[in-house]
Each structure stands twice: as structure tokens, then as C-alpha cells.
């Protein structure tokens, strides 16, 4: 398959707001089930081990017109939940047997209650991620939550999440994550060959397709990239921070890169990469899943940081690791986690002399001129002066 074909496949997954891919997977075997999850993190391994397809629900982006969703949300609440409600009310999510709501923020938390009120027959689970400093206690808590989830989902699917099935699912998702890391590595090494738009589309595809399908496509893509002989352009390298939940429109990602900033680090779709290392497949699988999240989760706004130095150091560390020149703080409007964290992260970056800019977007933003101007000026200033 050519690189172009792979990217078209990924784009078709991204544009598929009727969720035809998971529907087709379900149609293959009538006894199959699918479970949706909101951003940021859900333990997909457990869903998969119960024989169900985990489906990421990231709203309608700029493709879904909001007709009913606005009647459910005041104007001062971010855009994501209204487009999620729009998807649901228009029947686009009617293939799901359950929906998981992680403790990303109070909007998603309260959306879990709305689902309970609106869809009494659908399984709804709020996932209270472990937050405390003591890793042993946090692991015990999370393991117990995972056990409840596994038991509940096993009942719905009729397939018990046995240890063997869980280990197989962990192995599968270890491969998914390691392939995603390879994509990010390839982009970091040669962003002129691996545009963020393409990496992003592949990651979005992973949210709605079975893991083996994603793996085949992503591996083929990586192989195709090897053949690419494009030359670097005179652009700066940036990391984009704050876009872990409501996703920026694809046009915005392209705009940043075209305006002169190679994106070499980001937190788009962070949930699928929150576990940064492989999860061990020996021992008790639920324990390993829990312990890996507690000990190995990426630092993010949705988790408490027990280390007082954690926030101020985070940007310098990420900039160093990605060999970036600056940080773009790009957060959805009205997004508590991203916007409350921003002053702490930005202060840490600026103290270390790292150039930064900040803006807000909405998943359905359609005009990119202001972003183009801002990113262009940012890139020019970095290239000219090495900083703002």
C-alpha cells in the first residue's frame, strides 16, 4: 500500500462521523460489542480483553453541525460536550453498548450523569483516575476500579476478561503504543518527512479501528517514510501543549506547520499514549495495568502532580527531549485543565528562557488567519533571535 493510500485510509477514519469503521467491525460478528470512551485516558486493554472494541469519542470536530447540542450547554462551556451530545442525539453513537467517562474534568464528569439520564439502558462508568502521591495505595485503588470495570464489561459482552485474555490485550496495546512512539520518533527526527497532519490522522484512526488494523497501516506508513528523501525547510521546532481533550481542527495543525513551525512534540490524543512504557505481561495483569499507569503515566493537566517542581520543570524537560525551540500553548476555549495549568507551565518555560506563545481554539474553528500570523511571527522571531 502506498503512503498516500495509507494517509487516505486514516483520513477516511478521521472524517467518519457516522463511525462506519466500528459499525463494520460489529457487523462482521453479530455477538461483537463496542464501548466508547471520552478523552483523555481509558484502559482500552480491558475493553479489548472483554471482546469489545474501544472507540474514542472526540466530538464532531468541524464536521458536525450542532443542531441540538447547544440546547444542552451554556455558551461558556467548551465545545466538545455539545458535539458529543449532538453525535448521540443524532443516533451516530447508537452502536455503543457502553460509554466510559474518565475523570478528565468536571464537564466530562457531568456528561457521565447526563448519559445516565438520557440513556438508561447503556452502561455508563465514570473512571476516577488515581491521583494520590502514594503509589502503592493509588495502585490498589486503581486495580480495584479496573476489576469492577472488567467484571461489568464481561457481563455485557459475555466474554470474561480472563488473565490470558488480559495479557493478550496488554501485548496488543503495548505494540500499539510502541508503534505510536515510533511515529513520534520518526517525526522528531525528520519532521519535514513526517508531517504532523499525517501522524495525527493515523492516531485518530487508532481510536476507531481494531488495533491490528492500525498496526498494519502504521507500520506500512513507517516503512514508506524511510523512502522519503525530502529536504528540511528553514523552520523552527515547537511543541504544542494543552490540546489533550477537545482536539484542534486539522486545519489548525496544518496551519501551524505551514506557518513555519515543525511540531515535534504534542499532547494531541494523549490518552492513547499516557502509558509511556510497555506494560509488563507477567504477573497479575490487572495489577500490572494499574501499577503502570500510577508509576508511568505522562505528566498531564488531568493528573495531580505531587512533585512541587513537576510543573515548572515540565516544559524545559519536554523541550529538551524533543529538541524544540519553543512552546505553543494551544488550549480549547473554556478548558479548565489546560487553562488552569498554563500559567504554571508557561512560567517554568519562560524562566528557562524558552520562547512561548499561547492561543485558544475550538474544535470547529474555521478561520486560521490569526493562528497563521501568530505562528509565523513566532517562527520568524525564533529563527532571527533564537527566541521571542
Amino acid at each position: 500500500m502506498s503512503r498516500q493510500e495509507i494517509v487516505s485510509w486514516a483520513r477516511s477514519c478521521y472524517e467518519d462521523v457516522r463511525f462506519e469503521k466500528p459499525r463494520a467491525w460489529l457487523a462482521d460478528h453479530p455477538e461483537r460489542r463496542a464501548v466508547g470512551h471520552l478523552p483523555v485516558y481509558a484502559p482500552k486493554e480491558i475493553v479489548w480483553a472483554c471482546g469489545m472494541l474501544p472507540v474514542g469519542i472526540y466530538g464532531g470536530g468541524d464536521q458536525v453541525e450542532i443542531i441540538r447540542g447547544d440546547a444542552y450547554y451554556q455558551s461558556y462551556i467548551c465545545h466538545l460536550p455539545r458535539s458529543v451530545i449532538e453525535l448521540a442525539l443524532s443516533g451516530r453513537l447508537d452502536f455503543l453498548s457502553g460509554v466510559l467517562f474518565p475523570s478528565t474534568c468536571d464537564v466530562i464528569r457531568n456528561l457521565s450523569g447526563m448519559w445516565q439520564l438520557l440513556y438508561e439502558k447503556i452502561y455508563v462508568r465514570y473512571l476516577d483516575l488515581p491521583q494520590i502521591a502514594d503509589p502503592d495505595l493509588a495502585t490498589r485503588f486503581w486495580e480495584r476500579e479496573l476489576k469492577t470495570l472488567a467484571d461489568d464489561l464481561s457481563e455485557i459482552s459475555g466474554i470474561r476478561a480472563s488473565d490470558d485474555r488480559l495479557r493478550a490485550a496488554i501485548t496488543t496495546y503495548n505494540e500499539v503504543r510502541s508503534t505510536m512512539r515510533a511515529l513520534y520518533r520518526a517525526r522528531g527526527e525528520a519532521p519535514w518527512r513526517v508531517p504532523t497532519e499525517e501522524v495525527y490522522l493515523l492516531l485518530r484512526a487508532a481510536e476507531v479501528t481494531p488495533p491490528d488494523e492500525f498496526l498494519a497501516q502504521a507500520r506500512a506508513y513507517l516503512a514508506a517514510v524511510e523512502e522519503d528523501t525530502s529536504r528540511p525547510k528553514d523552520r523552527c521546532r515547537v511543541i504544542v501543549v494543552g490540546s489533550f481533550c477537545e482536539q484542534p481542527p486539522l486545519g489548525l495543525i496544518k496551519t501551524i506547520e505551514r506557518a513555519g513551525c515543525y511540531i515535534v512534540g504534542d499532547d494531541f490524543l494523549l490518552g492513547s499514549r499516557l502509558n509511556q512504557q510497555d506494560i509488563p505481561v507477567d504477573g497479575d495483569p490487572l495489577h500490572q495495568l494499574a501499577a503502570s499507569l500510577v508509576r508511568g503515566a505522562a505528566r498531564t493537566s488531568v493528573l495531580y502532580d505531587p512533585d512541587p517542581e513537576g510543573k515548572p520543570r515540565l516544559m524545559p524537560q519536554q523541550v529538551r527531549e524533543s529538541q524544540a525551540d519553543g512552546v505553543i500553548f494551544a488550549a480549547p476555549s473554556f478548558c479548565d485543565p489546560a487553562l488552569l495549568d498554563r500559567p504554571m507551565l508557561r512560567a517554568g518555560a519562560e524562566k528557562a528562557g524558552i520562547p512561548c506563545i499561547a492561543f485558544q481554539y475550538s474544535e470547529n474553528t474555521g478561520q486560521f488567519q490569526q493562528y497563521r500570523d501568530q505562528a509565523g511571527t513566532f517562527s520568524d522571531s525564533i529563527k532571527l533571535w533564537g527566541g521571542a
Partner: protein, 441 residues
Amino acid sequence: MSTHPTGPIQITSPPKNRGEVPKDDSMVLQKNMIAEHFRQLEEAPQTRTPVVYTFVPGNLTELVRSFGALPVLPEINALQSGMRGKSRDYIAEAERAGHSEDVCTYVKCDIGQALAGNIGPTGTKLPKPDLLLLSYTGCYTFMKWFELLREHYGCPTVFLQVPYQGDGRLAPEHRAYLMEQIRTEVIPALENVTGRKYDEDRLRHYLSLSRQAEDDLVAVLETAKRKPSPIDAYFGAVYYVGPIFSAFRGTEDGVRYYHELRREVEERARAGRGPITPDGPLDEQRYRLVVEGPPNWTNFREFWGMFTAEQAVVVASTYTKVGGVYEFGFRHDPEDPLGTMADYCGGCYTNLNLPSRVDMLAHYVKEYEADGFLINSIKSCNSFSAGQLLMLREVEKRTGLPGAFVESDLVDPRYFSAANIKNRLESYLQMIDARRQGVGA
């Protein structure tokens, strides 16, 4: 969340003689308690009294006090700043320092206050915290708020994760998790900063005092079932819950205050009188309402006045449950200190899921024989506001009554539109009239 109300006592007193503002004994008592508390706080650095900052929902005041420490509740500082007309400047200060326009204004008000010298509600300087006790009870913003304060003060922080009642109950494993955290994280942190050992007998004693005050508070709130209601269960009750939601749960002062308050309210009830509002007594009551959501503090008196002008009294509110829900039977239990603290935290209103909040509102409408209900949606509070439009419809469905929806903010005066709210309230009350007359019912 939000809040808690230890507002300026004098505004609830009726001006009987011109220039003279008589006060009920409970009001005087509360005012003195607050003044004394802030005096102690001001002197804390000299008296070497440890100071613990924590939040209203899930506050472990008895435990904090059992270590000889004094609690400070930043939400209260913020709301007081709103009432004293200071919040606009504090918010501007925080926004200049890089805080977004779109986030909780309590946080910005508090940060602005800290940046401007940390002068508390009574005009005295507030001490720095020796410990931030981050009781994570039903509001995501709490986590960021104390991460921000931790940066500002550079003091130790202990995190208490209160699992959300996603399934409408505090699961046994969640209760156990809470107890274990209190035992292995919170108590050692308090021991560290205070230099004192955990004293369970002292804690039990304080918990028994809490229980007495809680009995009296419930009795006070339930008087609103009477007609006329002797209290306003929203605007008036934010003062009543002040002591118990903050520094005075588990204290002798708290017990005295609630005892006195109950005596006064029951006396008013016996006499068939209504509550005392800033605009005088509200004995004639045309509308009985239930309210969901925090009040606006910058225009509190004006907001209340809109209700009083229409002879509308609030008979129950959810906001007055953010620091603890007592009316369905929960009381602090000295026989089970850690378990009772876990139950308390888990049960605060902010920690309840949407279906439970809908149940509670529908219950209030029925039990308190309300004519309708109103949601005050707060612009910068996702914890309360996200989902309220669906709650409105659900409560309407359950009760068969239409609801009203108004919007404002806690402490950002830019978002209080008096004309808008007044119009909506008036049209809503007219609709209630029309229904009474059988028009458009």
C-alpha cells in the same frame, strides 16, 4: 466549590429604626466568632499556631483542629472579596499575571488577593499556610487551585482523593480508600506540620460537637416546610451554613451558634413570621421557590432584593449543601472517626452525580411544597454548571413544574446583568401566576 458564607452579618438585620441595625443574638455571635477567628489567624505567626488551607466541600475541620491548627478556606476569602467589592481588582491582578479569562473566578480572586498582600475579609492579614490540605471533593478546579497556591507559598501539600459518586453512592471500596488515605497520608502530614501526635479522643470530642450543631442546622433548614417559611433557605441560609461549612464545625462556639439560631428561627416559626431580609421582614410570601447553584456575591443584596420585591422566598437550595448534606440522615459519628469523615467527604453536594442532584431538587420541590425552581448557572463553574440545562428539563419532567434559568458569576462583577435576571425572574413568577389561574397550565 464554592463557598461558604460567612458574610457581613449586618445585612441580614432589619432596619427597625432609621440608622439602627438591630441584630439577632445568633448574628452577633457569628460576627464575634468570625472576628475572633481572623484575629487568631493574624496572630498565628506569633503564637506559632499552624495554619491549614483547605476547601469547603470535604473539609476535615475537626481533624485539623484536633492538631491545634487553624483552618483557612480560600473559597470564603474569595466570596468575601466579592461581597466587599474587591474581587474585580483581584481578578484583574490574576489575569495580568497570566490567568485565563475563562476559568473559575474564585481561583483568580484568591490568587489576586495573595498577590496583593493576602488581606482577609476582616481587614487583617492572613497567615501563609503551613499545609495545603487538598481535599479533592467534587471539583476539578480544586486540584489546580492548590497546585497554584503551592507554587505561590512553597509549602507542603497533602492530597485527599474523594472518589466521585458516579453510581449515585459512595461504594464501600471508595469509603475504605478514603479512610486509608486519611490514616496514612492526611494524619501523618498534619503530625508533621504541627509537631503533635494524632489524638483520637480529642477528634471524637470534636465530632460529637459537630453532630449537635448538625442536628440544629437540619432543624433550622426544615422549618422552611412551614407556611410562611421563617427562613430564606438560599440567601438567608448562606449565613446559617457559614460556621458549619468552615472553621466552626466541631467547636463549642459552633454548637452555641446553632443552638441560638434554632431558638430564634423556631420562635419566628411559632409566631408565623417570615425571614428577615435586607429589605425588611418577608412575612407575606407569594412564591415558594427551590434554587440550584451558588449565588452571585458581587451583587448579592441586589439579587436577593429581586426575590423579596416579588414576595418570593426560597424554601430549599442545593448550594447550602456543598459543605455537607445532613438532611437525609448523615451526622458525624464520634464512634467511627475515620469512617465518618469518609462518609462526610463522599456525601458533599459537589460530589453527587447529576441524577442524584436531580433527585434532590425534585425531592425539595415536593417536600417543601414549592411553586417552582430556579437554576442560577455560574459562568465560571463547570462543576455546577455543566449539565444544568438537562437538570432543568429533568426536574420539570419529574415535578410537572416549569423551571427558571438565570446566569451570573460568583465574584466577577462583569457577568452580573441585573436587568436580565430581573426580567427572567419576573416573567417566571408571572408564569406561576398564570398556572395558578389555570392559564397555560
